[in-house]
Structures are given as structure tokens and as C-alpha cells.
């Protein structure tokens, strides 16, 4: 089996990351009740003895997350070191500073990038040395702040340079239009250029979608809709059953992102003959190197499946995955063009259910002419805790460009007035050209998506053979 390393950067990255570790532990505890350190656990956790050396097989001694935690202020990391997850991390895995990035991408990227380069490479390399076969890096960060956005994308480039053969999957939290951080459009657009150039896949998630989903679930569990009593502990926004008891702001939202990560890694964390290898994700879903933004949608979100679901309910789950309400980013894939789509299923789902639903949905979904059969599927037999099954759909769809267009508008509004620019230009290494290059990068990206939507030439004539 292969292993992966999580690199979480900035406040958002670390808060989301910790929800992932907590829920992943809950999931493994649920499946692996004997407390054995098995292959499944080894994909994201080390098992160490008293002296801190790796011990393979046998009983669990102490689990350590295969992770590097980076933040440039002490708050969030300090809490982790005090909190219930502290034993998962040894202090050397944490890299922090005191003064923060002040929501300035340039400070994160250039100032801290330069200052912490060696230390970060060292820690990542140490984590890599503990792996038998390192397959993937999962980078978690937000786009709108300074550290996750700036230093996070610096680390991305670092990983590409130092480990070119290891796949880089980035989970990026995009800001809402009303974000507290005034400079979030700058930070996001500057980060976008790095993501477009250096990531293998990006899973964009936006806070507006998360807020809406959480709101709707809370409303439903408070009003107790007839027929479907929602057990509070089991909703996708709940962290019940984890070791972390106190709920903080953002926790409900972050649990959704953590569930996305649980689902995408489930094939790597559990055995199964129909698993999708992590390196198959980019291979199948990314037809052009820059167009690697994969829109996630999760189901079920609003219902709790019974143990025995009638096929109709199961089919509903497939339909939901394509509805607007289940996207983790504000977008409407159904009315835009699909380049490719993956369906990652967990739990009690048969291959025939999958085939039936693809046949059923295919006519309703527009795919590019050259990829009419652009489906990739996987089945992981272990369901999420409390559910009998779940579905994560990853869509490479042109609708993502509307998010980018909006972001660009917000960027241009500030940029035209040169608002706050001097804070950036005062940073060593940051030039004005950085802004215009980032702007052309995102414009080119938008253009590439638009180009795919334009009516295609008729199919190219086949090669002819003289007879």
C-alpha cells in the first residue's frame, strides 16, 4: 500500500486539517475495533514506539499523523498543541512564527517563503522518509488570507521541485464576496496563478456554499422535518464521536471539507478491488494540464440514509450529486460542459447500481464531444460512519469559470484604484508585474474554458490508408 502526507498551511488549512484528522481517526476506530495497526491506517498514520521509531504491524502504540503543520502565527497551532489531538503530532512537525502574514499574500509567499524554506523542506523530507511508498501530497489552505494563500502556494512549488514524481492534490477554500479580509481578491488571484501552474489537481470549495449547506442542515434538524428525523450526531456537519468535544466557529463548515477529504482518500485508506488509485484521479480527469480544477459535490448532505435503502433512494443520491445544492462551490455543472467526471462511491453500492445510474444520467449531462464516455468510477466497500453509503463526485466542468470571473471582477475593482497595493509592493521580492501576470494567468484560464464551450469543428477526418 502507498502513503500520503498532508501539508496544512495557515489558519484555515490547519483548522480544516484537524477536522480531517479527527474524523479519520473516528472512521478507522469504527472499522478497526481491535486496535491493530493495519495497512489502512498506515496510509495516513505512523505507528511509533516509545523511542519514536516506526513499528509496523501489531497493536497500535501511538499514532502520528503523516503531516506537516505550518502557520505564521501561534494561535491555531498553539491550540492544537493543547487540544485533544496533540498526541498525533510531534512538535517538530509544527512550523510557526509569531507575527502572521497580515492577510498579505506577498508576506506569506516571499518573506516567509524565503525564511522557512529549509525548515519546511526538512520536515516534509522527514515525513517522506517514514513512507514506504509516498504517492500523494494533500495541501490544505485558504485562498483569501496571507499564510495559507501565500506561503501555501510557495510550499506547493517547493513540493513540485523536491518531489516531482509525487502527485499534488490541493484543497483550496475560496472566500465569500462579503469576506472580512478586504484584500482577499488580491490574495486569491495571486494564489490562483500558482495553483494553475503547480498543482496536479485542485479541489475548490467556497465558504458561501459551506455556509448555505450548514444553514440548511441546522434548519432541518431544528424543525425536525416529518418522515426524516435527522439524528443530530450523524449529520455531515457533526464531529460527534471524534476526540474533539468542543465545537468552534467554522467547525461545522470544516467538517464538510473534512468529509470531502475522507471520501477522496477512502480508496487509499481501505482495501477494495474497485478502488481508484490516487494517481488515477489526475490521469482520468485532467485532459489539459492547466484545467485541473475538479468541482466536488457530496451526497448525502441533507438526509440520513437508512441501513436498507430502496433503489429509488440510492438513485436519488446519484441525481443529487449533480444538483446545485450539493456542490461545494457555487456553480451549476449540469448546465455547463463536462470534460470528465469521477464518481467515488462508498458503502453498500453494487457495480450494477453504478452502471444503471450512469446510463440514466448521461442523457441529461452535456459532455465534450471527444469525451462522451468520460466517466471514471470507484467503489470503496467501507461506508462513512453513520451512513450506509455515500457519493463524492468530482467534475471537471467549465462552470468553474464563473467563480473565477467573479473573483477577477473583485480583483479588478481593487486593482483599478491601486487599493492596498503598497502593502504588497513593500515586500521584498514582490513586483507590480506579479499582479499583472496573475491577472493574465486567470484570464487565460477563463479563456481556455470558454474556448471549450464554443461549438466544435466537426470531427477530424480519420487517417486514410492507400489500398
Amino acid at each position: 500500500m502507498t502513503q500520503s502526507i498532508v501539508v496544512q498551511v495557515g489558519q484555515c488549512g490547519n483548522q480544516v486539517g484537524c477536522r480531517f484528522w479527527d474524523l479519520a481517526l473516528r472512521e478507522h476506530a469504527h472499522v478497526n475495533q481491535m486496535g491493530i495497526y493495519d495497512e489502512a491506517l498506515s496510509s495516513f498514520f505512523r505507528n511509533v514506539d516509545q523511542r519514536g521509531a516506526d513499528s509496523t504491524g501489531g497493536r497500535i502504540n501511538a499514532l502520528k499523523a503523516r503531516a506537516v503543520l505550518v502557520d505564521m502565527e501561534e494561535g491555531v497551532l498553539g491550540e492544537i498543541l493543547q487540544g485533544p489531538l496533540r498526541s498525533l503530532f510531534s512538535s517538530t512537525q509544527l512550523i510557526s512564527d509569531v507575527s502572521g502574514s497580515g492577510n498579505n499574500w506577498a508576506v506569506g509567499h516571499h518573506t516567509y517563503g524565503l525564511a522557512y524554506r529549509e525548515q519546511i523542506v526538512d520536515q516534509v523530507r522527514k515525513a517522506a522518509e517514514h513512507c514506504d511508498c509516498l504517492q500523494c501530497f494533500f495541501l490544505i489552505h485558504s485562498m483569501g488570507g496571507g499564510t495559507g494563500s501565500g506561503l501555501g502556494t510557495f510550499v506547493l512549488k517547493l513540493l513540485e521541485d523536491e518531489f516531482p514524481e509525487v502527485c499534488r492534490i490541493v484543497t483550496s477554500v475560496y472566500p465569500t464576496a462579503e469576506d472580512d479580509v478586504i484584500t482577499s481578491p488580491y490574495n486569491s488571484i495571486l494564489a490562483m496563478k500558482e495553483l494553475t501552474e503547480h498543482a496536479d489537481c485542485v479541489l475548490p470549495v467556497d465558504n458561501q456554499s459551506l455556509v448555505d449547506i450548514v444553514g440548511k442542515i441546522q434548519h432541518m434538524s431544528n424543525t425536525g422535518k416529518p418522515g426524516g428525523t435527522i439524528k443530530k450526531d450523524c449529520t455531515i456537519i457533526s464531529g460527534q464521536g471524534g476526540v474533539v468535544k468542543v465545537e468552534k466557529p467554522f467547525d461545522a463548515m470544516n467538517n464538510i471539507v473534512a468529509n470531502l477529504l475522507l471520501n477522496i482518500t477512502s480508496s487509499a485508506r481501505f482495501e477494495g478491488s474497485l478502488n481508484m488509485d490516487l494517481n488515477e484521479i489526475a490521469m482520468n480527469l485532467v485532459p489539459f494540464p492547466r484545467l485541473h480544477y475538479l468541482l466536488p459535490s457530496l451526497t448525502p448532505l441533507y438526509t440520513l440514509a437508512d441501513v436498507n435503502v430502496p433503489p429509488r433512494r440510492l438513485d436519488q443520491m446519484f441525481s443529487d450529486a449533480f444538483s446545485k445544492e450539493h456542490q461545494l462551490i457555487k456553480a451549476d455543472p449540469k448546465h455547463n460542459l463536462y470534460l470528465a467526471c469521477a464518481l467515488m462511491l462508498r458503502g453498500n453500492v453494487q457495480l450494477s447500481d453504478l452502471r444503471r445510474n450512469i446510463e440514466r444520467l448521461k442523457p441529461t449531462l452535456p459532455f465534450v464531444p471527444w469525451n462522451q464516455e468520460g466517466w471514471k468510477t470507484s467503489l470503496c466497500s467501507v461506508p462513512p460512519v453513520c451512513h450506509s453509503h455515500s457519493l463524492l463526485a468530482l467534475a471537471n466542468n467549465t462552470c468553474v469559470k464563473s467563480t473565477f470571473i467573479e473573483l477577477r471582477e473583485r480583483f479588478v475593482k481593487l486593482y483599478r484604484r491601486k487599493a492596498h497595493l503598497h502593502h504588497y509592493l513593500a515586500v521584498d521580492g514582490m513586483e507590480l508585474a506579479g499582479f499583472s501576470e496573475a491577472l493574465s494567468s486567470i484570464s487565460a484560464l477563463i479563456e481556455e474554458y470558454t474556448h471549450l464551450e464554443s461549438p466544435l469543428m466537426p470531427n477530424a477526418p480519420r487517417l486514410t490508408i492507400a489500398t
Binding site: S273, N279, V286
Partner: protein, 446 residues
């Protein structure tokens, strides 16, 4: 003589395991001492403690599938895989032919060659090398092609027969048509013959003929293994009418591949049904052969839904009209057929219907186009069983589909960067397309 098998990638290893199971079960039936002896020599060797060990090398870039195959074989109690006959790594080829062909293949060629050499040296006489793999993934297709190329260099005079599984039309690997095009175009240069199974076809056989509700990949593999074993198990041939032939692969190639431009072989068999139906069914040779002949000329892969209106063009058409135009669209013209009959009263079976010159291209002598193998031993639970291995136009349509879809994708250059990353350039793609268009053209204009 013995056959050395190579199981490559997930598909190759799963089908390989199923094949040895069927062969072992079949040979252990009642009253078949000579048959078993011949089959054992062909597929197994015996250890000093009397255990049967498969003459097979298992190769994959991840450990899971191989370790399952080895464990299942040991559990059978009848046979097992060799102690040092497998090679695996930790991380698969990620559905990428180029990663298999350009990276994993060269990196591990020595280790795999050593394993194959050990098996070959263990044989008193080598009948040939038989490989099994899918064309749509990364390891079987890419590493499999690379290894075939190496074996072709190392054993220039040995027969190499490649069994390949063609993908389902949709749902598994998005780049499957690219991988298939790259695999088939390369194999065509290297292989003595390519024996094709299409997953969609076999899947339909499982649902329609075997009546299986929730079809698993192992159900599909059982049908494929049954068909393969019906060809590879001992039989009497023209060269060896009184003893089981010792040269199965050589004779198969002589019968079916008369020209290097035509080496795609397809398979169909009859009867094929669930064991419950089998218990209540009686078959006679004339009935079975009548159906099988119609399956041949109408290019039906199963007994059900045969188009009985298709017929061979009548012999009276003048030479001028016998070109492609006057032929019925759906008529499936053959270069060669090999009929393998197994079971009761096999000596009474009349095979004249397959000797009709109208079934074959005019530029070959019919006596060279049709061969029969027989065995009086009932095969794998079927009292009577007929299998037809064909070199004809029946694979044209699926091959054309693969090339068409891959070409449409290639026209947009979609996914090409995933291959160039490992050293396969656009030119290589174009060469592969050209090679396959050539094959399509050759079979179209038979």
C-alpha cells in the same frame, strides 16, 4: 511440450488465475488419465513432494491482485503458483500506458526476464509463451507490451501468443482508448497472434446465457477462462491424429495466421449456460454445429439472437461481382477458422458446413483455411462442447470504435500531456493510429 504463461496487471492476473483453476478442475474429471497427463505437462510442473505448480509468471506494479491470486491458488489444494514466480511493486501504473511502457517496463525488465527465463528453462520443450493482459489500464497494457518486446528479442524463434481483454465501452478508464491504441499497434509488430476478448460481449453472455443477476468480474473471467481452456487443453489434431498434440500454439498459428498482416483472433463457443440449465439440456452435434456456423457467418458472439437471415454469398456469382460490394453487409468473411470439438461421439460430428469455400477469402485454398481439433473427453462439465477460433472480420467493428474514439480525443490533443510526460510524443500516437488504420483497412478489404 509446455506453455509458459505470463499474467500481467490486474486483468491478466485475475484471468490467469481463473484459467489455471479451470484447467485443473477439467483435468481432474473422471476417466482422463492421458488427457490429464498431457495437460499437466503443458501447464504445470511437479515438485519432489508431488505438488502441481503453474508454469506462470505473475507481474503487476502493485501487490494486491497478485497476492490474492497466489492465496486463492494455494487454497485450492490442487495446484499453486511457484514460490519465486511473481514480481510486484507498490504503486500501480495509474491507467497510463506510457508510465508502464516507458518507466516501469525498462526499470524492471531484468527482474521479469529472469523469472520468465527460469520458467522456460524448467520446460523440457517449450511450446510457446502465452501472455494475458488488458489493453485499457497501465500495467498490463504498458508493461505487458514492453515485456513482450523484450521476449521477442530474447526468444526470436519461440511462439508468442497474446491474449488481450478489450475494455467495456464506458465507465472505468477514461483514457482507455488511447491505451488500447498504443498497446494494439505495438503488439501487432511483436506477437504471432492476438487473441481478443471483449468485456461487453462476455458480460452479455453472463447475463443472457448464464442468467447471472449481479455480474461480478469473476463471473466474466470464468467465461473467458472456459473459452481459453477449451482451446488450450489437449486435443487430437491433423498433425497428431492418434496422440494428443504436443504443439498446441504452433499448430494454432499454422491453422489461423497465414499472413503477418492478419493476426487478430476471436473466439466463440457453444453451448454456454448456467449449470442448472445444463443439467436439463441434451445436445447433438448437428444442432450445435449448425448454430455455431451461423454465429460465424453472422458474426454473433453468442447463441442467442443470431441473425439467421445472413447467408454466405452463393457460389454462382461471377468473379467480377465477388468484390466487397456484392457481399452482404453483415456477412462475416473469414481468412481461417479452427474448430475444436470436445466430448461424446465427437467422431460422428460432421464439419462440412465450415468447409464451404464461400466462407473464405478467394485467395487462400480452403483446405488451408479450415482445421479441426477433437477430443473425446467431455470438457469442463459440458458433455459436448464446440469452440471456434477465427481470423475474420468480426473484430472490425469494435476495433474501429476504439480507434474512432481515440482519434476524436487526439484531435483535441486531450490527455496527450499525460503521455508526453513519460516520453511518448504526438508522433508516436500518429504512428500507432496509422498502424491500426492499416489493420482496419486490411480486414475491411479482405
Amino acid at each position: 511440450m509446455s506453455i509458459v504463461c505470463l499474467q500481467l496487471g490486474q486483468c491478466g492476473n485475475q484471468i490467469g488465475h481463473e484459467l489455471f483453476s479451470v484447467i485443473s478442475d477439467d483435468s481432474n474429471g473422471a476417466n482422463r488419465k492421458k488427457y490429464k497427463q498431457c495437460s499437466d505437462e503443458r501447464f504445470f510442473y511437479e515438485t519432489s513432494t508431488g505438488e502441481l505448480v503453474a508454469r506462470s509468471v505473475l507481474v503487476d506494479m502493485e501487490p494486491k491482485v497478485i497476492s490474492q491470486a497466489i492465496a486463492k491458488a494455494s487454497k485450492s489444494g490442487r495446484w499453486r503458483y511457484g514460490d519465486k514466480a511473481d514480481f510486484s511493486q507498490k504503486q500501480g501504473s495509474g491507467n497510463n500506458w506510457a508510465s508502464g511502457f516507458c518507466v516501469h517496463g525498462p526499470r524492471h525488465e531484468e527482474a521479469v526476464e529472469d523469472l520468465v527465463r527460469m520458467e522456460i528453462e524448467r520446460c523440457d520443450r517449450l511450446a510457446g509463451i502465452f501472455t494475458m493482459m488488458s489493453v485499457a489500464g497501465g500495467t498490463g497494457s504498458g508493461v505487458g507490451t514492453y515485456i513482450t518486446q523484450r521476449l521477442r528479442d530474447l526468444y526470436p524463434s519461440s511462439f508468442i501468443l497474446n491474449q488481450v481483454t478489450w475494455p467495456y465501452e464506458a465507465g472505468e478508464v477514461i483514457v482507455q482508448n488511447y491505451n488500447s491504441v498504443l498497446t494494439l499497434s505495438h503488439l501487432y509488430q511483436l506477437s504471432d497472434a492476438i487473441l481478443v476478448h471483449e468485456n461487453d460481449t462476455v458480460h452479455t453472455i453472463c447475463s443472457r446465457l448464464m442468467n447471472i443477476k449481479h455480474i461480478s468480474i469473476s463471473d466474466v473471467n470464468k467465461v473467458i477462462a472456459h473459452q481459453l481452456a477449451s482451446v488450450l487443453q489437449p486435443a487430437y489434431t491433423a498433425d497428431s491424429p492418434c496422440h494428443y498434440s504436443t504443439n498446441p500454439i504452433g499448430e494454432l498459428l499454422t491453422s489461423l495466421v497465414c499472413h503477418p498482416e492478419y493476426k487478430l483472433l476471436s473466439l466463440c463457443n457453444i453451448p454456454q449456460m448456467s449449470s442448472t440449465s445444463l443439467a436439463y439440456s441434451v445436445f447433438n452435434w448437428p444442432g450445435l454445429l449448425k448454430h455455431l456456423r451461423q454465429m460465424l457467418i453472422a458474426s454473433a458472439r453468442m447463441e442467442e439472437g443470431i441473425d439467421w437471415t445472413v447467408s454466405a454469398p452463393s457460389a454462382v456469382t461471377s468473379a467480377g461481382e465477388s468484390g466487397t460490394n456484392s457481399r452482404q453487409k453483415s456477412f462475416n468473411l473469414s481468412l481461417a477458422n479452427l474448430l475444436i470439438l470436445r466430448g461424446k461421439d465427437v467422431s460422428t460430428a460432421v464439419t462440412d458446413g465450415f468447409r464451404d469455400p464461400a466462407l473464405y477469402v478467394p485467395w487462400l485454398k480452403t483446405e488451408n483455411s479450415f482445421s479441426t481439433w477433437t477430443s473425446p473427453v467431455a470438457f469442463n462439465g459440458y458433455e459436448k462442447s464446440a469452440t471456434l477460433v477465427s481470423n475474420n472480420q468480426s473484430l472490425l467493428k469494435p476495433l474501429d470504435n476504439i480507434v474512432r474514439k481515440a482519434w476524436n480525443m487526439f484531435a483535441s490533443r486531450a490527455y496527450v500531456h499525460q503521455y508526453t510526460k513519460f516520453g511518448i510524443c504526438e508522433e508516436d500516437f500518429l504512428d500507432s493510429f496509422t498502424a491500426l488504420e492499416q489493420i482496419i483497412s486490411s480486414y475491411t478489404h479482405l
